[in-house]
């Protein structure tokens, strides 16, 4: 809630710093950019809610892999979009499954497990493509994402709202969602209440893989092109968006609406900084300070002394 308010304030602040910043077109543009981050951060939200240091650092690599897969399979052919999407989502689910097994069955800390998975996915991409990106995005993908669909809202924004609604349903209106929160707060309580904790956690990493793969698909529609580090810039911002959105890194508490607002705030910040024409060193310092300030508003943990 605060994050959403902040996004609006930042937007109008942008107008003060940059005449002409405040316009409907610019607002839609920001939301469109935020949508990519927001969709990629959806899986991150689930994983972080699952607790026990849950975090998915493989989202960037999955985004890249999915985009490359779709790029290759579709190869400019509108008819191949659905099969390509299916393959990409399946690949995401498989990577999530491996992450989940590594974390739950082998007891590898999520941070390093998913980091290792990033290496494996990137390594596989290198081995298979040998650096040559062959293929072409389908025309229909770009149209579906960029062209106005509902009034002035482009397809991507509509898709994001749809993802938001589905995520809300998933978290608040399914047994899985309720069990996920339980697993995030206290795994022993969950187990002794009849929740199969490993199943819930593995499903969560799979969901994260699928959502990141979907994010890669959408991103390809926007960029129309793929390269090796396509998804990397979204990795840490996806964590930051979740935290700025009020989801607790310790697990068991949070919402996707918050993450959406967090993605908007982050995207606005980076857009404003990019538009500011400051030298890169200064931009980085300012971004760091602003992130720190944001976190001190939201991310405070419980005090030891009451």
């Amino acid at each position: 809630m605060i994050a959403l308010l902040l996004a609006v304030v930042l937007f109008f602040l942008g107008g003060l710093l940059q005449p002409g910043f405040v316009s409907v077109a610019q607002a839609i543009n920001i939301i469109r950019l935020a949508a990519f981050l927001g969709i990629i951060a959806a899986g991150q939200t689930l994983v972080i809610i699952s607790g026990h240091e849950g975090i998915d650092l493989s989202v960037g690599a999955v985004v890249t892999l999915s985009a490359i897969l779709v790029f290759r399979i579709v190869n400019g052919n509108n008819g191949m979009v659905i099969p390509a999407l299916a393959v990409a989502l399946a690949a995401g689910a498989l990577i999530g499954l491996a992450n989940g097994i590594g974390v739950m069955a082998l007891g590898i800390p999520p941070l390093v497990m998913t980091l290792g998975m990033t290496g494996i996915v990137q390594g596989t991409i290198l081995v298979v493509t040998q650096g040559q990106m062959i293929g072409k995005a389908a025309p229909i993908m770009g149209e579906a994402i960029s062209q106005p669909l509902l009034g002035p809202l482009p397809g991507i924004v509509v898709i994001w709202l749809l993802v938001g609604t589905l995520m809300w349903m998933l978290l608040e209106r399914t047994g899985y969602g309720k069990r996920l929160f339980a697993v995030g707060v206290n795994r022993e309580t969950a187990r002794l209440s009849g929740v199969r904790v490993p199943v819930v956690v593995v499903l969560t990493y799979m969901a994260s893989g699928v959502l990141s793969a979907f994010g890669g698909f959408i991103l390809l529609g926007f960029t129309q092109n793929v390269f090796l580090n396509l998804g990397t810039p979204y990795l840490f911002p996806s964590v930051a968006a979740v935290v700025i959105g009020g989801t607790v890194l310790a697990g068991g508490k949070g919402s996707y609406w918050g993450t959406m607002a967090g993605a908007l705030v982050l995207t606005l910040l980076t857009s404003l900084l990019t538009a500011s024409q400051l030298p890169e060193a200064t931009r980085q310092i300012v971004l760091g300070v602003l992130l720190l300030a944001l976190l001190s508003v939201y991310g405070r943990q419980r005090a030891l002394r009451q």
Binding site: T174, A182, S193, V195
Partner: protein
């Protein structure tokens, strides 16, 4: 050693909730003062204020005639004021010795820790409980200890500071009767040394055994300061509850039901044969429809393993049949689906989802019933009904469960199973650290479940409960059933105690 400490009209609020509105307590050298009150009456908050863990909003602390404020637990400790906490203050991965001497390790030349001295002194301290706990290596990590041993390490940790003033906050909750006796011997010794002791407990019998004075709290206020000699248990309980509800009366009321509900003709609902686990050796028993079977004995003799094995929560050998059908469960989920419910021994770490709502805590095992998408209004209605049935005192179903007092939180743990109408209910010391009112509520509930035919297996560390509630009691010792005591026949206090300490069948009449 001389000390006098008093808290006068101390207050503390957390957000909108007043935890303490008038905490008053005075203790002097050579005195044991019992601090009693229902859960949420402000005992723990008052204790934490005295030891500097919590900052008071108002009132004052007077130490040796001078007003004091403690900014940290450290500051209070520097003046010789310490506490044995209810939530343990031990670091699980550190050893017994490291834990006991943390912050006052013996040093070599002022810098490196003197490991040998640390170990020797730890052994010296552990000797004070020799005979009532197994011999412990001071280098054992605390996480490997049984709950009673942890509690004893906690007590020794406090004592290692050579304090002038000690608060024992529910320090006997995990101890068996012999361990309590040893602790009381130590307390007598501390009194003679001139130390001042505050003893916080729910166990009236212990309070009356050890205390010189009894201070009673209710709703964040000190409501009575009684001299032991002139006080009756009924008077103390009346002050605690504000009415004349009486634990024994509740037990007695329930006992009347049990006679009506004989088990002679009932069918066997749960059959356990040659059950084995890490602590159990060859345990067999039956539980009938509507029967309340008690598990007794000293702490940690395998009672918990029986409950966990039946619930499918630990690896075990042997055969289990439910109403004649053999079952082989690999996960508690299987047991839950078959209508088995388990109320764990530690509600905070095993029974509750602290920051989630009361609604979600009550419905956790039952969400599957509500379809997709979840019919949340039905779930809320059912949970509300359960909360009303259990008379849970709460701000609303959406309030986080950690806003509840201990007794009400325990009702939530039980309530989540009532929503499923369990066929078999397993309870692991469900009234531990629960106030008198909530205890009575739990007893009433068990009675109702039995009327409905639920088979109940009930472990309690409180002998009075086993004697008052159960149709039969199995007494465990060292993973083996030592005795089966039947109501109206062999179920007597002396038999229960004799079997608990491992006496042979011959000495049980």
């Amino acid at each position: 050693m001389q000390i006098s400490l008093s808290a006068q009209h101390v207050t503390k609020r957390y957000g909108g909730v007043t935890a303490l509105s008038d905490g008053t307590l005075a203790v002097a050298s050579g005195e044991v003062v019992a601090l009693v009150g229902a859960n949420g009456s402000g005992k723990s908050t008052l204790s934490k204020i005295i030891t500097g863990v919590v900052t008071p909003d108002g009132g004052e602390l007077i130490l040796d005639g001078q007003p004091v404020t403690f900014a940290h637990p450290h500051a209070a400790r520097a003046r010789g004021i310490t506490a044995v906490y209810q939530e343990l203050s031990l670091i699980p991965d550190m050893s017994i010795a490291e834990n006991i001497w943390l912050t006052h390790e013996p040093l070599h030349f002022g810098l490196p820790v003197n490991r040998r001295a640390t170990l020797d002194r730890t052994r010296g301290l552990l000797d004070q409980f020799a005979g009532v706990i197994p011999v412990l290596d001071p280098e054992t990590p605390v996480k490997d200890l049984t709950p009673d041993a942890k509690q004893i390490v906690e007590i020794l940790k406090t004592f290692s500071l050579d304090p002038r003033f000690i608060i024992l906050d529910e320090a006997t909750a995990s101890l068996d009767s012999q361990q309590v006796n040893r602790l009381f011997d130590l307390i007598e010794q501390w009194k003679r040394d001139g130390r001042a002791i505050v003893f916080v407990s729910h166990r009236m019998e212990e309070v009356f055994r050890i205390a010189d004075r009894i201070v009673v709290m209710r709703n964040g206020q000190t409501v009575g300061d009684l001299v032991h000699a002139g006080a009756s248990e009924a008077a103390v309980v009346a002050l605690m509850t504000g009415e004349s509800a009486d634990a024994d009366a509740a037990l007695a009321a329930h006992r009347d039901d049990t006679h009506v509900n004989g088990t002679g003709l009932a069918a066997v609902r749960l059959q356990v044969r040659t059950l084995t686990s890490q602590t159990l050796r060859d345990v067999s028993f039956d539980v009938h429809d509507g029967e309340l079977l008690g598990l007794g004995g000293l702490r940690g003799q395998g009672q918990e393993d029986i409950l966990l094995a039946v619930f499918g929560a630990i690896r075990h050998g042997g055969a289990i049949e439910i109403s004649g059908r053999p079952v082989q469960w690999k996960h508690p989920k299987d047991a839950v689906d078959a209508g088995v419910a388990y109320v764990p021994g530690d509600r905070n770490t095993q029974g509750l989802l602290a920051i989630r709502s009361i609604l979600e805590n009550l419905q956790l095992p039952s969400w599957a019933k509500y379809g997709f998408p979840l019919r949340t209004s039905a779930a809320t209605r059912d949970a509300g009904q359960a909360a009303t049935d259990l008379s849970i005192v709460m701000a609303g179903l959406e309030a986080p469960v950690n806003s509840l007092s201990g007794g009400n939180a325990q009702k939530v743990v039980i309530g989540k199973w009532l929503l499923r109408n369990p066929r078999i209910l397993l309870l692991n010391d469900p009234t531990k650290g629960v106030d008198v009112g909530a205890k009575a509520e739990i007893y009433r509930l068990l009675g109702e479940l039995r009327q409905a035919g639920t088979a109940i297996v009930f472990y309690s560390s409180d002998d009075a409960e086993l004697l008052g509630l159960c149709d039969r009691v199995l007494v465990l010792h060292d993973g083996v059933i030592r005795a089966e005591l039947v109501r109206g026949d062999s179920l007597t206090r002396s038999n229960l105690i004799a079997a608990s300490v491992g006496a042979s069948h011959g000495s049980i009449q």
